[in-house]
Each structure stands twice: as C-alpha cells, then as structure tokens.
C-alpha cells in the first residue's frame, strides 16, 4: 500500500512509533475489525479504530439511539436520537476518517448469522452487555478460530481479556451463561459513563496491537479494574481442560441463542 502525503501526515504519530512505523500503519490500514454493539464500549472502540485508520470496520447493532445512551455512548450525539446506532456510528467514523470502509449490520448477532458475519473479519470486539451474545461471540470465535476481545463493565467495574486461538477463552473462565436476570446489566444497575471509555480504549489498543503484532496481548489474563479505588488487577489464567467449548471434551460444538437474549430485549423495549 502506498500512502498519500495526506495519509502520511494523518498517521504520522503512529509512523513515528518505532514499533509501528509505515509497515505497522499498513497493517492497520489493511485490517478488518468487527465491533459487536455500538454502545458504551463500541463507541470509544469505533472512534479510536477509525482515527487509527483501520481499513474496514464492521458494526453490528439492532438498536436505535436513545436519550439514556448519550451519558456514555460518545459516538452518538443528541440529534441522533431514534437513528439506528450503526448509521449514527458510521456517520461519525466517516467524518473522522474518510479512509475507513464501514460495513453496517442493523440487526442482532444470532447463532444463525454469527459465523457468516465474523468470517469476513480479522478481529472481533465484544462491546455487548448481555451474556447470551457474549457467549455467542466466544463460541463463534473459538469455532471459527478468530481472535476477539471480551469487555464487560458494570457500575464502577470493568474487565477485559483477549482471546487468540489456543489461549484461554471466555468459557474457560466462565463456564456457561448465568441464569436470566441473575446478573444485572448496565440498563438495570447503572454504570459510570467514563468507565466505558476506560475499558473501550483498552480494547481498541488490543486491536491495534493485534493488527501490528506489537507487544504482548492480554491473553491468558483477565484485567479488572474498579474506578472507585482506581485499582487495576491482572488475574493470570490458562486454558481450561474442562472448558465446554475449547476443552478436551467439548460439549459446545455449535452455536445457540440463549434464552436470556429474548428476556433482555423484551424488558429493554418495555422500558422505553
């Protein structure tokens, strides 16, 4: 890829980095990343990946922008209320960086479409807040051998891990989805807006590290933080032989839509 003068100027702060350089920027510019959920985590992830010049950004989200989203979903602006989130996000990405090709999916990620959609991407980022989709992303990525970043935030806490084929997956740590409504979502329990940015930008950095091959990914580690104490902790983990999807005797060999998805969506819609 030959960069134009304008692109060299745009990406100069990356190119200046010894570990990145023109070669690394080329890798970023050739990268294809899917962001699942254009919400609190998806917003900063999309903004930073767009600014970084990731070649293709796919965004999947079936929702429209709601007034209550604007406290943390910084890619959506007040005039975007009622607009599909994927459209609102695409407009901002294009304004930040016209180099980026944006592919939008105004729908839910499901067991039926997940493998087909993720197949087009080098890296998948989980920016969702419900467990059925988190497990679906994990299982689809393990089965399709795709790397992904898991992210979760709630109240003042955040956690993230990066998966590459062979490393500990989300199910290695969390065997199966919690019973419906056992664990509150942000829409039920609340979340400090800024921690979506704290966690989302960590996920975005992991994407850029993966694409450029720079540094050590957050694999076989779970990073957690609490914004009240501002303490960060890294829990070292390893591949779990009893993991239901990547263990020695896998019981999860295909994708399923867990029931909670429906419950969550119903309660979410009713609350509007």
């Amino acid at each position: 890829m030959d960069f134009t003068e304008e692109q060299i100027q745009r990406y100069s702060r990356h190119i200046l980095l010894q570990d990145v350089g023109v070669e690394g920027q080329e890798k970023i510019s050739n990268g294809k990343v899917l962001i699942v959920g254009a919400g609190g985590l998806g917003a900063p992830i999309a903004l930073y990946l767009a600014a970084a010049g990731v070649g293709t950004i796919g965004i999947i989200d079936g929702d429209v922008v709601d007034l209550s989203n604007l406290q943390r979903q910084v890619i959506h602006f007040t005039p975007d209320i009622n607009k599909p989130k994927v459209i609102s996000a695409k407009e901002k990405i294009n304004l930040i960086n016209p180099d980026v090709k944006v592919v939008t999916y105004h729908k839910l990620l499901t067991a039926e479409n997940a493998l087909e959609i993720i197949n087009d991407y080098d890296f998948i980022v989980d920016g969702t807040d419900n467990f059925p989709v988190k497990f679906l992303i994990n299982d689809a990525c393990v089965i399709a051998k795709k790397p992904f970043s898991h992210g979760g935030i709630l109240r003042f806490d955040g956690q993230t891990l990066t998966y590459v084929p062979g490393s500990a997956c989300y199910r290695c740590l969390f065997h199966s989805p919690p019973p419906p409504n056992a664990v509150p979502t942000c829409s039920q329990a609340g979340v400090l807006g800024a921690i979506a940015g704290m966690l989302g930008t960590i996920q975005a950095a992991e994407v850029l590290k993966y694409l450029t091959g720079v540094g050590d990914l957050l694999t076989n580690r779970l990073l957690t933080f609490n914004a009240k104490t501002m303490e960060f902790r890294t829990v070292h983990t390893k591949h779990n032989d009893n993991c239901p999807v990547c263990g020695n005797h896998p019981t999860v060999t295909g994708l399923v839509d867990y029931e909670q998805a429906v419950c969550d969506i119903e309660s979410h819609r009713k609350s509007k």
């Binding site: 699942v36 959920g37 254009a38 919400g39 609190g40 985590l41 998806g42 917003a43 999947i60 989200d61 079936g62 929702d63 943390r72 979903q73 989130k85 839910l108 990620l109 989980d126 920016g127 969702t128 807040d129 419900n130 467990f131 989709v133 988190k134 992210g151 979760g152 935030i153 709630l154 806490d157 955040g158 956690q159 290695c172 740590l173 969390f174 065997h175 919690p178 019973p179 056992a182 664990v183 509150p184 979502t185 942000c186 829409s187 979506a196 989302g200 779970l222 957690t224 902790r233 829990v235 070292h236 983990t237 390893k238 779990n240 009893n242 969550d264 969506i265 979410h268 819609r269």
Partner: protein
C-alpha cells in the same frame, strides 16, 4: 489458622475450609455468579463443597460483568 490470599489480598481462615464456605465468608452476594481459580486452576462449580483451601493457597474470585450495549 490458614493464611491464604483472595484476589491478591491476604486473608486468614480457620483450618481447612471449603471453597463454598470461603465464598460465604467473603459475603459474595450471588455465589452462583462467581468463578473460582485455586492456585491458577479453575475449580468446577460442582466441587466447591468438597474442595478445601489450605495455608498458602491463592484464590481468584472472578465475576460476570456485562458491557456497553444492552441490545446489540
């Protein structure tokens, strides 16, 4: 007394207690929502009652955490 660590913090417990008892001692609001690593190995939920902790053990309590977007 056994000196153990839970999420990096030192804790003293009576003799050899089970992981299920340790979860209670730590006031985990929803015990079914915690994953436990004992010295770097995940413990099956079915074994929480029968697995005991002893002096020097390091435990990690990991919790389910949601995310950014309620309805992707």
């Amino acid at each position: 007394m056994s000196k153990i660590s839970v999420n990096g913090k030192a804790q003293e417990v009576e003799g050899s207690i089970s992981i299920a008892e340790l979860i209670k001692l730590n006031n985990v609001a929803q015990p079914s929502m915690v994953s436990i690593q004992l010295n770097g190995q995940f413990v099956n939920r079915d074994d929480f009652e029968t697995t005991t902790v002893s002096d020097g053990d390091e435990l990690d309590f990991l919790y389910f955490m949601g995310g950014g977007q309620a309805n992707p």
